[in-house]
């Protein structure tokens, strides 16, 4: 069985599918992080988010994150699913699942994965408000 699963998709993401990918009999714990679309940014109502990816490189960078987790925390399996396209409030943008021997490492590894993803993976989101739109993090 493959211990790394990386998906970028414009279809709805499924948390249970992602979790099952990291199911291993030797694992004592799984941590699943689910990132969802929030209804406001700094008090401004968000209508939707539009995600786009430089797909081949985004997959490569997510794979690097997963490989680092297998190495640093002896994880048994890592899955990262990221959505692209137009997402509404409450939709799932990203799911990260990690399984490890003991729970503490799974928590740390999952946190590392989402923090690093936000810094290195070439995926962008534009927030669409009622009265305008903005590329997130583009400007200081």
């Amino acid at each position: 069985m493959c211990n790394i699963n990386i998906i970028i998709s414009d279809a709805i993401l499924d948390t249970e599918t992602c979790r099952q990918e990291v199911q291993r009999d030797g694992a004592g714990g799984q941590v699943v992080f689910v990132g969802t679309v929030r209804n406001q940014t700094k008090g401004k109502e968000v209508v939707r988010l539009e995600f786009e990816a430089y797909k081949p490189m985004a997959i490569k960078e997510m794979r690097k994150i997963a490989e680092a987790i297998l190495e640093k925390w002896d994880a048994l399996a890592v899955s990262i699913h990221h959505r692209v396209g137009s997402l509404g409030v409450g939709d799932i943008a990203v799911i990260i699942a990690v399984s490890t021997l003991h729970r503490d490492k799974a928590f740390v590894a999952c946190q590392y994965a989402i923090d690093t993803l936000k810094e290195t993976v070439p995926i962008w989101k534009k927030e669409i408000f009622v009265d305008g739109e903005v590329w997130v993090a583009a400007h200081p």
Binding site: G35, F51, E52, A53, Y54, P56, M57, A58, K60, H82, A93, V94, I114, L117, K118, E119, T120, V121, P122, I123, W124, K125, K126, W135, V136, A137, A138, H139, P140
Partner: protein, 80 residues
């Protein structure tokens, strides 16, 4: 040297299109290319930062370009 620039996110909007063909003798490295880009499109300077990728890897300013390279402009990422 012929270079092809590909842009995503806000970089595409600054460029005014998905890609740009560049024929230049002034550009040798990624650093040169960033300077050239800022000179042509000053809005790049307003970004928090921007990076460049060749063959799906981030490249630093010293990276030397070759004729026919495809360079992807990576504005600040915001996945997750």
């Amino acid at each position: 040297m012929n270079l092809r620039l590909v842009a995503y996110g806000i970089a595409r909007e600054i460029l005014g299109g998905n890609d740009l063909q560049l024929n230049t003798t002034a550009v040798k490295s990624i650093g040169d290319l960033k300077e050239e880009l800022v000179a042509k499109f000053p809005d790049f300077e307003k970004l928090t930062r921007f990076s460049m990728a060749v063959n799906e890897e981030y490249r630093d300013e010293e990276y030397l370009l070759s004729d026919g390279d495809e360079i992807v402009i990576i504005p600040p990422v915001s996945g997750g």
